[in-house]
Amino acid sequence: MTELKENLKMPEQEKLVASVSPHIHSGVSIRKVMLLVIISLLPATFAGILFFGLPALKVIVLSVLFCVFIEWAWCRIDGRTDDWKDFSAVLTGLLLALNLSANVPWWICPIGAFLAIGIGKQLYGGIGYNPFNPALVARVGLLIGFPKIMTTWMPSLNMRDSSHPLHKLIYDVDATTCATPLGVVKTAVSKPDTVQNVFHSLCNFDAYLAYLKGDMPGCIGETSVIALLLGGVLLIALRLIKWQVPIAFIATVAAISGLVNYFSPNTTPGPIFHILTGGLILGAFFMATDMVTSPMTTKGAVIFGIGCGLITSLIRIWGGYPEGVSFSILIMNALTPLIDKFTLRKPFGFRYNENKV
């Protein structure tokens, strides 16, 4: 019999962990997911600060701070002391700020933060349990509560220059506020005589270029299409969102506005205008794709995206508000459980005639 070596170090039995398989993990965590989404929002954030200046920075900082504070306080009261550290409140705060105009009074931020984190998220039980996108709950809550403030826009800094293609949107030289392109369209369509002139001034190459850069009035984070696309591509590359949602969303808006514009040119401008203005890109890539509140399957994601596009177009073209992205996403959030139910996929090897459903 061979002697086995003595004095070998052996595991300590009482220290062994006995948990279920698998025993290894990919290393992904909620915090990492949230951080990556925040990083992909940074281009749009910087673009917002670039075009709207320090007021934008103030709104962003305040929103994030108040959201984190409310999350921290609520979790503390609730006894879930660690939950606030997962960066999800930072993301909600950032999204809320990007959905506000840079010229809102400071106290909009704490109210918005409370609506988002308190009413939109923690009231339902915190992360994972909220049926609606918290930042959008806040935005729509504020829009209903403070309609004047929430529909008063600040022109981008460059628009004061008279050579800027959107210079005419500023009401007068001294005005600190102006209309958004979508708002201008909404008022223009009621005057059939001038509607084509207005459309033309908003739908030309220079204007499109301004929309792409984000050099136009609007919410802090929704204006710069290029910056948003940069982040959106990052999200898709990192597989943090399903690409089907933004693509279906944007394609539906483009298709409907294209059709309506083709058959009735006075009703609405063409698809390029609809894609580049308003909150469509921000909504499609960053709001509609919110994990908690959108469907889990690919098929569900397509239905969700189409639904969002449909409602957005309806509101923009025939509704009472110039912009419908927020409402459309919230409505589709409400339909998500239903979509999940009807898109329940069948397991590998499922056969309809043999397996009972």
Binding site: M1, T2, L4, K5, L8, K9, M10, P11, E12, Q13, K15, L16, V17, A18, S19, V20, S21, P22, H23, I24, H25, S26, V28, S29, I30, K32, V33, G125, G126, I127, G128, Y129, R239, L240, K242, M291, V292, T293, S294, M296, T297, D340, L344, R345, K346, P347, F348, G349, F350, R351, E354, N355
Partner: protein, 451 residues
Amino acid sequence: MNYSHDNHLYFYGGVHPDDSKKLSACEPIKDAPLLEKYTVIVGQNIGAPPKVIVKKGDIVKKGQKIAEASAFVSANLHSPTSGTVSAITEIIGVFGAIVPAIEITSDGKDEACESTKIEPSKASPEELLAKIADAGLVGMGGAAFPTVVKLSPPKAKKIDTLIINGAECEPYLTADYRLMLESPDKVLRGVAIFAKILGVNRIIIGVEANKPDAIENLRKSHLLNEYGIEVKSLRVRYPQGAEKQLIYALTGRKVPSGGLPMDVACVVQNIGTSFAAYEAVYEGKTLYERVTTITGSRVVKPGNWRLRIGTPISKAIELCGGIKGDVAKIVAGGPMMGLAQISLDTTIMKSSSGILLLGNEEIIQYRNQPCIRCGNCVDVCPMELLPGPLSVYIENERFDLAEKEFVMDCMECGSCAYVCPSKRPLVQHFKRAKAEIIAKRKSQQLSQKAK
């Protein structure tokens, strides 16, 4: 690393953990020295545990039957060495429960009992089948399903393809890889025995492409043409070695939900089992030892060892030079589906493909935070289930909803939990739901009988 592979049918989902096979891949299989005492667990197979046919004080030889198959789905058990039955006892088994065991004290002579060899070309399929049953073969990939049952499908089921699972898709494990590398002919001869018993013409060995030398080695063998065996390299993706996914990758057939491979005319056997079949038939050797990979970051010298059934885990670790650093988890099997051990006295079984020693920083720390519906699990579930929502149903004890949404199709591969950012113990939820649903079905059957 990217390896080229020649299957074009990809199963849905799956994950790609670091395979960590280099720790032990270059270590040749070594025979473990004889121990003074072996504690052979009774009931190493799925199905009924065998009936113990020795008593305390009996003298046994190596390879002698010490417990006999008690039902159709059961398997014989054999003594790992010659010596005395010193106790019929109980130890903590790999599942953490206390199980009966036979303790054999070695006499140091390691005398083999008499055995008969068979020349497979002259033997009938029935004789071969009887030999395999006699040798107590079970699926050695981890499930330990009695091989003889798999090889005797009901008459109504026509079998046309034999698939040999050489995927070894679990990270860390290299036991099958070493067998393919060191004894390709023995493995192929074992495969041919299965083929003869089943009477099939099509034989495919599927090996994950991260073992190019093993594939090369098998392909070089002259036996390949003789027996008509195909060797295919497979895409490297966990769980490529799962029965249903393997069959799909190699034949394009989908085993029906709730069905078995024989429903699509296939039988799947493992490399280790094929090797054991060779030994049983050509050498008359019963299944009392197997190749086990002992590895992990905490093992001083990882390696592949031929261990006797009944070797305590502690002795296996000694073979590898003990541990370095703190061990947080000892896993019997691979890191994705293996079982965490609570006792070092648990012994090697026929299904022990690996012993894995992991440190605290490597192991998953389950937290069961809320599901954030990120859909990672949906993207990786190879059975195309919705693990996240299922786990929520189960947390709320809605086993009826879980059953309706196909939790019974879950094979517990662990891909979902591997990618869950909330670190939910998803497999635990599914194991629980499956147990609850089976218990409910049984009680329903009983009450129906009573009526």
